[in-house]
Amino acid sequence: MFQARCSSLKMICQKFCVALLHWEFIYVTTAFNLAYPITPWKFKLSCMPSNTTYDFLFPPGISKNTSNLNGRYEAVVETKLNSSGNYLSNLSSRITFHCCFWSEEDKNCSVYADDIEGKAFVTTVNSLVFQQTGAHWNIQCWMKEDLKLFICYIESLFKNPFKNYDLTVHLLYVLLDLLEESPLLPEKGSFQIVQCNCSFNECCECHVPVPTAKLNNTLLMYLKITSGGVIFHSPPMSAQPINVVKPDPPLGLHMEITDTGSLKISWSSPTLVPFQLQYQVKYSENSTKNMKKADEIVTATSLLVDSVLPGSSYDVQVRSKRLDGLGIWSDWSTLLTFTTQDVIYFPPKILTAAGSNISFHCIYKNEKKIVSSKKIVWWLNLAEKIPQSQYDVVDDHISKVTFPNLNATKPRGKFTYDAVYCCNEQECHHRYAELYVIDVNINISCETDGYLTKMTCRWSPSAIQSLAGSNLQLRYHRSSLYCSDVPSIHPVSEPKDCHLQRDGFYECIFQPIFLLSGYTMWIRINHTLGSLDSPPVCVIPDSVVKPLPPSSVKAEITVKIGLLKISWEKPVFPENNLQFQIRYGLSGKQVQWKMFEVYDAKLKSASLPVPDLCAVYTVQVRCKRLDGLGYWSNWSTPAHTVVVDVKVPIRGPEFWRIISEDTTKKERNVTLLWKPLMKNDSLCSVRRYVVKHHTSHNGTWLEDVGNHTKLTFLWTEQAHSVMVLAINSIGASSANFNLTLSRSISKVNIVQSLSAYPLNSSCVILSWMLSPSDYNLMYFILEWKILNEDSEIKWLRIPSSVKKYYVHDHFIPIEKYQFSLYPIFTEGVGKPKIINSFTQDDEKHQHDADLYVIVPIIISSSILLLGTLSVLHQRMKKLFWEDVPNPKNCSWAQGLNFQKRTDIL
């Protein structure tokens, strides 16, 4: 290295007392155009005493006093020596040093010499002369890549006799304006001076700031070197900063095997320089086959090296230089070594979308020998051999496997890829290629708000969460109007910020929107292995509107008409025709909704029949575009009906009378009883009841009972007709029951028989027989009560056509009940048929019923008993005779006849 060759130098010239005389004056005599042009490579400065003879070195035919021999460089140094050193100690106290520049490329060194008359002349000598004696320095100057600093680097050469002395270096420079660039010399005082930074090892760096605007100007300079008390002045040198730019070495050197199996050497270059760079790439390949070195110059920041081999190592270095015009090569980048594996997969990893087709290539090296591609077999996850039909032989060494129509990879534990192995017949190397197949079918759904100013799009990343290190981005492209028939990914797209919601969906908001523009959207999955795009969808905001719900929703049961009327106002937007849905039901915790749909966009209300006019209904309305595009709005806030009187009561209440007779006064007190009218009859409330009386003597009159359900009056005449009317806010009941109390009719008996059959404790069947009559039978009234008790009389109305009736009540079995059936004629109340208990027929029937049950039970029990006895008899017989010994086997019984009776026994 340039710097490494510096060594300490402080030995000799302590006694040299240097005086610089007339330096600037000498410069005046130096032609400007003789300034040494700084070269892109290193050059040297050599100085030697003027009494050194070098005549012998002059080539034949060249005069010693040739002036300005080749128009190059010249300089003179005058030194005053008042001390001596090892080498220069013999020099006189006043020695003139001649300095010149030379380089390895041009070893001619032009020397400025001062003759007696003070006239300057230039002599060119071979630099070897100076190398033998004098002081020497290596110099390199360049413009830094940032184009702000000009640097000159000076180092003392090893042979320098002054090397061990204190070294001070100054650079004097002047930056000439472009217009001044003429052979005329600059003024003496126009030079600026910078002190150079010298390190302990006698290396110095001089920094000259250069304004950006003056990069094309000429920088004229010379060096003033003080070493050991001796001052050396270099000849002038010149440079245009822009022509000596030295870039920084390239960075980020990287090697990889490409998808096509080449070795790609890539690097990045500092981008400060305003011109294009060229690069020199120096690489060597060390493989089992051969050792290869190459050196290529390229303008791109990468280089492809074909035919990469497994098990090889590659050493690479890169440097850069200005492509056009002059410049200085940068230093070499740091050496990078890349070693290929014994099995090379290219590409080593693939990220792809489900449904796609991909291929892997492989070169297999086995024990220093590359396996023939024909012998290569492929395995998946070391578990499944890939069919040979999917192999291809690319060349002698490269095998290829293709996977058509891939399915998404199912993660196995933490492994989210399929491992693809390239094997040498039965032997597989442990290295594998990785195959990541992602299902990119991500559904994007959008919804435009009811104000038509915001479109919200949602999508779920759940399908691709398994791919670690990936990030997802919604990208979109807006076309001015509508969508194309087949949405496609546009090369120009914008990303959209989306925010993860609690439900795991991402939400992206477009606001404001272009209502009729087509927004083509897709999800881009970015990963270090590449990027994938989900299938694009195109959405027109106008087509995905979710309107605001209808407003001002009202519900009522219409008076006199009796329909559920619902009215609403359509939302302000959209301006398209809308359809509506109404849902309604009886209010409660769980409303059983009924639906009704309105397809007429102009309608603002609907009337619906409902079964119960006196109930509270809850109603909601929602809307959607009539053409079916977009979404249903939310349901409106619920509206409730209010129960009011809709019509006059359908009928008056059913009523009955209880007569208490005072035999002494021949007066009868009649108490009318009626049941309160229910809502479905009263429609929907009863404000009061009115009893309408009619007698032949007093005519007709009304008696207001208010809310009471009982009225007592005196029955004095032969016949007294009454009617009970129910009154609500609309009016009086239209259909009412009429009851005539007539003394003559009360003796008319048409009920021949009445029977009561109890079914259970809550129901009794009553049946009756009628005899023919000329009277106009309207209905029956059935009375019942517990016999012999002053209990409440219960009653009910039975239509005249009925012959049998189920009476539901809580009947106590041990009690006896009295049932009375009154025929009610138009002319009056007839004679009742009264029974005081359940009829005998009923008891007989009951007994018969008992008999029907008991007899079969007895018969069954008898049969069962007989059977049991029979079986028991057999068992007993068997048990008994088993204990009797067999006489043939018993010693003591042998010879006895058991069938013969003996007197002993």
Binding site: L452, L481, P512, I513, F514, L515, D542, F573, P574
Partner: protein, 147 residues
């Protein structure tokens, strides 16, 4: 290919939408139609008979004015106007009408000065006149306007 009938329907609906949007901007509702505001001649007035190209030109001017207004709610209207102009271009294309490119609006050079001094007036008058123009256009579209 979008049926021309749909383009016509969308054009009318979009005009109605913009009219309603302007209605919803509260401070434009209180502007009296009886008062005439002077000094805002660069804002187009009402033209009962409009051709498609004239409609486009008028909308372009309004678009430029709205773009200069700072109110947030006019941005959406400005977007709507862009869509509306695109629709007019489609309608014109369906009739084989050449729609000339709208020239640079010289008259609007003074817009910046006016806006600085009379922002409120400019906004309410522009929106009010735009609403009127749109209603004219809506009527005109029913009459099948010429090129």
């Amino acid at each position: 290919m979008v049926p021309i009938r749909k383009v016509q329907d969308d054009t009318k609906t979009l005009i109605k939408t913009i009219v309603t949007r302007i209605n919803d901007i509260s401070h434009t509702q209180s502007v009296s139609s009886k008062q005439r505001v002077t000094g805002l001649d660069f804002i187009p007035g009402l033209h009962p008979l409009l051709s498609l190209s004239k409609m486009d030109q008028t909308l372009a001017i309004y678009q430029q004015i709205l773009a200069s207004l700072p109110s947030r709610n006019v941005i959406q209207i400005s977007n709507d106007l862009e869509n509306l102009r695109d629709l007019l271009h489609l309608l014109a294309a369906s009739k084989s009408c050449p729609l000339p490119q709208v020239r640079a609006l010289e008259s609007l050079e003074s817009l910046g000065v006016v806006l600085e001094a009379s922002l409120y007036s400019t906004e309410v008058v522009a929106l009010s006149r735009l609403q009127g123009s749109l209603q004219d256009m809506l009527r005109q579209l029913d009459l099948s306007p010429g090129c």
